[in-house]
Amino acid sequence: MLFNSLHFVVFFLIVTPLYFILPHKFRWIMLLIASCYFYMTFIPIYILILIFTIIVDYFAGIWIEKSEGRERKFYLIISLVANIGVLAFFKYFNFLNENLTLLMSQFGLSNAVPYLKFILPVGLSFHTFQAMSYTIEVYRGNQAAERHFGIYSLYVMFYPQLVAGPIERPQNLLHQFYEKHPLTYENFSIGFKMILWGFFQKLVVADRLSIFVSAVYQNPGAYSSSMLLVAILFFAFQIYADFAGYSNIALGTARIMGFKLMTNFNTPFFSTSVTEYWRRWHISLNTWFSDYLFTPLMIANRDWGKAAVILALMVTFGLSGLWHGAGWTYIMYGLLHGVAVSYEFLTKKFRKKLSKAIPPIIYNNVSMLLVFTYVCLTWVFFRAQSWGDAIMVLKRLFAFQGKFFVFDNNLGVIIYSLMAIAILLVHDLSVHLNHGKSYFLYHKSAAVRMATYCFILVTIVLIGVFDGGQFIYFKF
């Protein structure tokens, strides 16, 4: 069930009132059933994978808490192996097999291991990471093991964030299932704003931009350098609007029921460094990697000095790339960010001096532009259908080939896309300058707020792409 479908609208309109009608003690049951239904609308049988990891992690959590020393570590390892094993099997088996075949062929050997044919379970990377977060936090003593099997199941399966995050931490989410959440105007208002803006991001920006981006990336060899540049820029806004749109709808639907999920995006394109960008982009994943991989790695090798940081950065970003997809293009995407963040780490003092020598308005805006350009170029590896396509796009981009404007049937699509981007940027700028709150959606005047709602709704109806397709991050 996609958030941008009428199926979901009906689902939401049934589940949310039901949540408030039911007595508190029955709410978790209703939410769990609704979440199971939500997940099973994709491929029903895959719920067995979730049930398997939920059972393993539930008992691992309790046993970790009860045991000491090596035994404690043993249960953690069991939980991690189960989660990573499921992830590796479904997501990375064919990738590993393909590379093994390639490697063996270099030595004249053939690989007898067959390729597996199945569809990747939706949101697998998200819920396995959330499950691992639970057992790690119990192991670290930051979270008490959850004794209520239903509540623990709901922690993993809570439908707003089940298939594309945000990847929650047990400390933030578990206790909320025990709290009574009455319907409040504040929660409803904030949730409604998030959902509204999320739909705008998805329907008006992401799906509109995807029309042109998909056409170009399907056949990059047929487009001029200028059109490739437009597609590269558009994709940056597309993926941002797609994923941030999903997150906003997720946060909004949860918020109406009184649940506060963690913020996943904070106007990332206004970052003045790649390091800052990663503090604003997919925050729940990046803090996950930071807490459970980067920091432990750095601490383990702290004797190496700066080299430890660089190593930890490259490993973290490489694996973050791999998390997104089983392919070398994704790994490259991650590594390129690793290189940029490492560079910023090594030149921190120099850049600080430079920032003092140049007027802040120039330094900040040039930095923002450079970061955005770099991020856009790394997205080429993320979006291209293959390694060859990514290289072709970059080669053709810098070869300045073809006519500057070849619009033909694309002109309308490009103008609509630019309109959508302009509205997105105005909104995000207002959020950036207004301490994280949209100037228009949270304006003190009710008339301005109402006018904003109406403007967004009218724009969705007139420019939105309906039935445009699934969210990009669903496949992760």
Binding site: L183, F188, C454, V461, F466
Partner: protein, 311 residues
């Protein structure tokens, strides 16, 4: 309890405001849409509501660019209107035919058929393009069946008065420019000349030829509707500058079979020798330029005259 009341009150105000906006903006867009003087939407409206041309030519961009209405009209001594439209598919052609036949009976219909007429679009682009017919959903019941092909929830979306103009707003905004109000239609009775010459080489035709059953059904319905209304129909495959093996192409063969079953004459110029080795006749590898369309229209005009004489 106070929160419940406040939510209902505020949400109620928003719903009322949206209802009024939908009604108001929808009415304004409708006015601009139906008073257009040029452009693709104007031509669609002309075919649905106005034309009384003796000959109607249906098809996609290939039809719009390839059939010079003056040359064909002079050849047949009949009035001709070209109903071809960029990025339109068989559903659109069928809907337009239904609307036109509801008003009058033309003397001849030509259906330009693409080599990938029944292509299976993974993203449903062909059904998506039916959106240009949505402004007629309320006023033309005969088009509703086609409009509803867009999706199972389309009838509910169409309760909105603004929704039929979704993705057409740009055209409406252009219409607000003072100059646009007085500009005449830039086509010649629907025919659009393309200037420029194709620079690329001959490449193999690689479009997958699996047949979309719904598109095939509507093609058949188009042919059968002409037969039912006793309007002579000619199917034409206009030239492309790609190396296509038509005899092995399932799309082409399906269209041929439908025509054969209904005794519809077929004019196949997909790789006709007049055009096959002459890139100077092409605008790109799928469309003829002005020069090519003149040659092609002269040939088609002659052929149509021959066919009508034989009858």
């Amino acid at each position: 309890m106070a929160d419940y009341k406040l939510i209902i009150k505020r949400f109620g105000i928003l719903v009322i405001a949206m209802f009024l906006l939908d009604w108001g903006v929808g009415a304004v867009l409708k006015h601009f849409y139906f008073t257009k003087k040029n452009g693709a939407d104007y031509r669609t409206n002309h075919v649905i509501n106005k034309t009384k041309a003796d000959v109607l030519i249906f098809g996609s961009s290939k039809a719009a660019y390839h059939y010079d209405t003056k040359i064909i009209g002079d050849s047949l001594h009949l009035s001709v209107y070209n109903a071809g439209r960029d990025l339109s598919y068989i559903y659109y052609h069928y809907a337009l035919l239904e609307a036109a036949l509801k008003r009058y009976t033309p003397k001849l219909i030509v259906l330009d058929t693409r080599a990938n007429e029944f292509h299976m679009f993974k993203n449903g682009e062909d059904r998506d393009r039916i959106n240009v017919l949505l402004p007629y959903y309320d006023s033309h019941p005969e088009l509703r069946q086609v409009c509803l092909l867009r999706g199972p929830f389309e009838r509910y979306k169409l309760l909105s008065k603004m929704y039929p103009y979704n993705s057409l707003i740009l055209n409406e905004l252009v219409e607000l420019l003072p100059i646009a109000r007085y500009k005449k239609d830039d086509s010649q009775d629907g025919y659009i000349a393309k200037y420029g010459q194709f620079k690329g080489g001959l490449r193999p035709y690689t479009v997958r030829d699996a047949v979309d059953t719904t598109a095939a059904l509507y093609y058949k319905k188009f042919v059968e509707l002409c037969k039912l209304r006793k309007v002579p129909l000619v199917v034409a495959f206009s030239p492309i500058y790609q190396d296509i093996h038509a005899a092995a192409n399932r799309n082409v063969q399906y269209a041929m079979q439908v025509c054969k079953n209904n005794n519809v004459p077929v004019l196949n110029y997909l790789r006709d020798t007049t055009f096959a080795s002459k890139p100077q006749y092409f605008y790109d590898d799928l469309h003829l330029n002005r020069q090519g369309s003149v040659v092609y229209s002269s040939i088609i005009g002659g052929k149509l005259r021959q066919l009508s004489t034989h009858k």
